[in-house]
């Protein structure tokens, strides 16, 4: 596709349920990032993939959060036993490969935990 896509665009769930967020990066981009943006806040780094491996998982808030990437392309971010404080916009970005490459962001998934 022309840009980074994310699905769903909106997700409303009940506290305690699991959710899965999907990111399709730009074709050919080997690096993929997940961020969280709470209302009125900056971007919080969650995890970074280079290919299918994750050199840096240091931003994942708890063991309820996990992410994987398969085939060097699509990535899924899974949040288990969601809590109200997980409510935020989850952003995915991809870049060509290098640390100095700019990131291209998707439109985000707005997660609301009731």
């Amino acid at each position: 596709g022309a840009g980074v896509s994310q699905s769903p665009s909106n997700k409303v769930t009940e506290k305690g349920k699991d959710v899965e967020l999907r990111c399709d990066p730009i074709s050919g981009h080997t690096a993929l990032y997940w961020y969280r943006q709470s209302l009125g806040q900056g971007l919080e780094f969650l995890i970074y993939f280079q290919g299918n491996s994750a050199p840096d998982k240091s931003g994942l808030p708890s063991d309820r959060f996990s992410a994987e990437r398969t085939g060097g392309s699509v990535s899924t971010l899974t949040i288990q036993r969601t809590q109200q404080e997980d409510s935020a916009v989850y952003l995915c970005a991809s870049s060509l490969e290098g640390l100095g490459d700019e990131q291209f962001f998707g439109p985000g998934t707005r997660l609301t935990v009731l």
Binding site: L43, F45, Q103, F105
Partner: protein, 115 residues
């Protein structure tokens, strides 16, 4: 540890006047520095970056930024502001030479340009 500071939550400028959005950073070694913009109801977009070379970097929409190593700053500037520049601006930093280094974003500065 890497960090980025955007000391101003909001910057207000009259249209046609020059604007500056401040950013300072802390990183081990040499940095990669970025500016991104988030327009209302739109995704984050890349504006410009500094990797190496000339300290003055020019980017999209007439914006530029100056890398100052001694002051560890990377302020965003534009000579003449437009109302359409009103948006949320983020500075970001990443350490060079570390494949595991994450990119750290500042808290953002809301730029408001009045007609």
């Amino acid at each position: 540890a890497q960090s980025v500071a955007q000391p101003e939550d909001q910057v207000n400028v009259a249209e046609g006047n020059p604007l500056t959005v401040k950013c300072t950073y802390s990183v081990s070694g040499n940095p990669y520095l970025f500016w991104y913009v988030q327009y209302p109801n739109r995704g984050l977009q890349f504006l410009l970056k500094y990797i190496t070379g000339d300290n003055l970097v020019k980017g999209s929409y007439g914006f530029e930024a100056e890398f100052n190593k001694s002051q560890t700053s990377f302020h965003l500037k534009k000579p003449s502001a437009l109302v359409s520049d009103s948006a949320l601006y983020f500075c970001a930093v990443r350490a060079m030479y570390s494949s595991a280094s994450k990119i750290i974003f500042g808290s953002g500065t809301r730029l408001s340009i009045r007609p």
